[in-house]
Amino acid sequence: MMDQWVYATTGLHEKDFEAGQVLVETWEGKAEYAWDTGIAMGRFLEELRRGRLVGRRCNSCRRILFPPRMFCELCFRPTAEWVTLGQTGTVITYSLVHVRWDMVRLEQPQVPAVIAMDGAAQGMGILHLLGEVAPEKVKMGMRVQAVWKPAEDREGSITDIRYFKPIR
């Protein structure tokens, strides 16, 4: 039987560390980057600063791609032109998140969602957060619109949109 081919790993517990039984080294790496945004993301972020959302059209499959990119991944061709989208979209999935990445519980749940933007091809969603909505009221297919930071606070970042709120 395969039992004999299982090595008995030494599992450690919190108390082993607390009792000083385990020799531990710590190291903090320094990993810093400054990524060139290039054409597609450069323009996208610049337009965000102006309070606008833009996509790119592929003239072969005619899809308006969002987020924008300089190539259509299905046709493998350069995309042809910029297209300004609207500010509204549809929630195609969402979650109510009660924990941070390090498992610390949040006081108020965050509501990330994938939002398919109007004016882009079918299902062209982006990740963002929902706001001004009670968690229990969030629904699939909910219609939402972008809520922006004031112009002077925008930096050319996806967070220039504070969140998406339900269209009432």
Binding site: E25, W27, G29, K30, A31, E32, Y33, A34, W35, D36, T37, G38, I39, A40, M41, G42, R69, M70, F71, E73, L74, C75, F76, P78
Partner: protein, 383 residues
């Protein structure tokens, strides 16, 4: 094994110190468009597999594999990432074709070294956390130690290393894709600021950004394609120990074993005679000398002399790094090995323009994975 493998398309973008106008995806897309045009293929229809070489910490992204397919035309296709050099990815593509599973496989690697703000810290992050990192040495110290070891054994001299730098940076002046071509004198190399003596700053290859895409196909399929095929006669790769205390400091065992495997598969028995020219890693000047001997291209202990005598110059008996090598083109991180292979392909096709070596039919490309590794990959290519 009955299948033979060709490189039927090459495309590249760069190499430049900075590429602020293009994101990494756009850089790769450009190289891919060129490679596919060269080969005469549509990646959405004609390619069965894609392989890329990349490291998370070079990109600043965990599981960087996620971001590889779209700009290559590989979305919803068999694609995978190798944590290795571009030549490892080439070897993987070779195996996928040789097995009969696939007929056409694309290989990609790129560098956006200019985007890594803390590169020396990243390199140090590859060191063993218990035995090496606590010494808090800049990893270039390892290159200095190796160079000093070779000097102490009388295998090389500093002047010979300087001659490598002079040669390669001069060669790069005739390479429009090279980022660091220049005329520089040996005294200037020797007196440039010391990094980890006896290693001086001009003896270390600076970095560059760029992307390379190769298209490989089995010989039968290659015949139906537009690109001029170059035969991959043999590939070999080997890993020495990561441990600094037990590795071979002055013999480049990783190079010797990688080459042995590649030569065996290629049927090369006397590399010194059968290899017409070579592109070998020169991330540090002394590495070119060390590698030439370990790869069996130059008799042991003679690489330095041969360099001073001009035997590895373009007009010499075995031209080495006609492209400029990493010293002249720039080190391209995980893509460096592919930039070595690129030159071999161009030379064998007669497409090297002002750098063209006359009448070459067999070349060797050799990659070293860089500090702090003892890992190498070799490829024997023939026209």
């Amino acid at each position: 094994m009955n299948r033979t493998v060709e490189i039927v398309g090459v495309g590249w973008s760069g190499f430049r110190s900075l590429t602020p106008d293009q994101s990494y995806k756009e850089l790769v897309f450009e190289a891919a468009l060129r490679a596919y045009a060269d080969a005469g293929i549509d990646p959405r229809r004609d390619v069965q597999g894609f392989v890329t070489a990349a490291e998370d910490y070079h990109e600043g992204t965990s599981i960087y594999d996620e971001y590889t397919p779209d700009q290559l035309g590989a979305a919803q296709r068999p694609m995978h990432t190798i944590g290795g050099d571009g030549l490892h990815a080439l070897a993987a593509a070779y195996m996928q074709i040789a097995s009969g599973l696939m007929d056409v496989v694309v290989v990609e690697a790129h560098s956006k070294a200019s985007n890594i703000l803390s590169l020396p810290h990243i390199v140090a992050f590859a060191e063993d956390p218990t035995f090496e990192r606590p010494l808090a040495l800049h990893p270039v110290a390892l290159a200095g130690l190796e160079m000093q070891g070779l000097i102490s054994l009388g295998r090389i001299t500093e002047e010979q290393c300087a001659a490598v730098v002079v040669k390669n940076k001069r060669n790069a002046l005739r390479n429009p894709s090279a980022a660091h071509g220049t005329e520089v004198g040996p005294e200037e190399v020797l007196s440039s600021p010391p990094l980890a003596s006896p290693l001086t700053s001009l003896m270390a290859a600076p970095h560059a950004d760029g992307a390379l895409v190769f298209v490989l196909a089995d010989t039968e399929r290659a015949r139906t394609l537009k690109g001029e095929p170059v035969r991959v006669r043999g590939v070999g790769w080997a890993t020495d120990t990561p441990a600094l205390d037990s590795r071979d400091w002055t013999g480049a065992r990783y190079a010797r074993k990688a080459a042995q495997m590649a030569y065996r598969i290629a049927g090369v028995q006397t590399p010194g005679q059968e290899i017409d020219f070579a592109e070998v890693d020169d991330s540090f000047a002394h590495k070119e000398l060390l590698h030439l001997e370990a790869l069996g291209l130059v008799p042991s202990g003679r690489a330095g002399e041969w360099t001073l005598e001009g035997q590895t110059a373009c007009s010499g008996s075995i031209p080495v790094n006609v492209s400029g090598g990493a010293l002249g083109e720039g080190s391209l991180l995980d893509a460096t090995g592919l930039s070595r292979a690129l030159e071999v392909v161009l030379q064998l096709r007669g497409q090297a323009g002002p750098r063209q070596l006359p009448g070459v039919t067999t070349g060797l490309a050799f990659a070293w994975r860089g500090l702090p590794t003892a890992v190498g990959v070799a490829a024997v290519l023939s026209a």
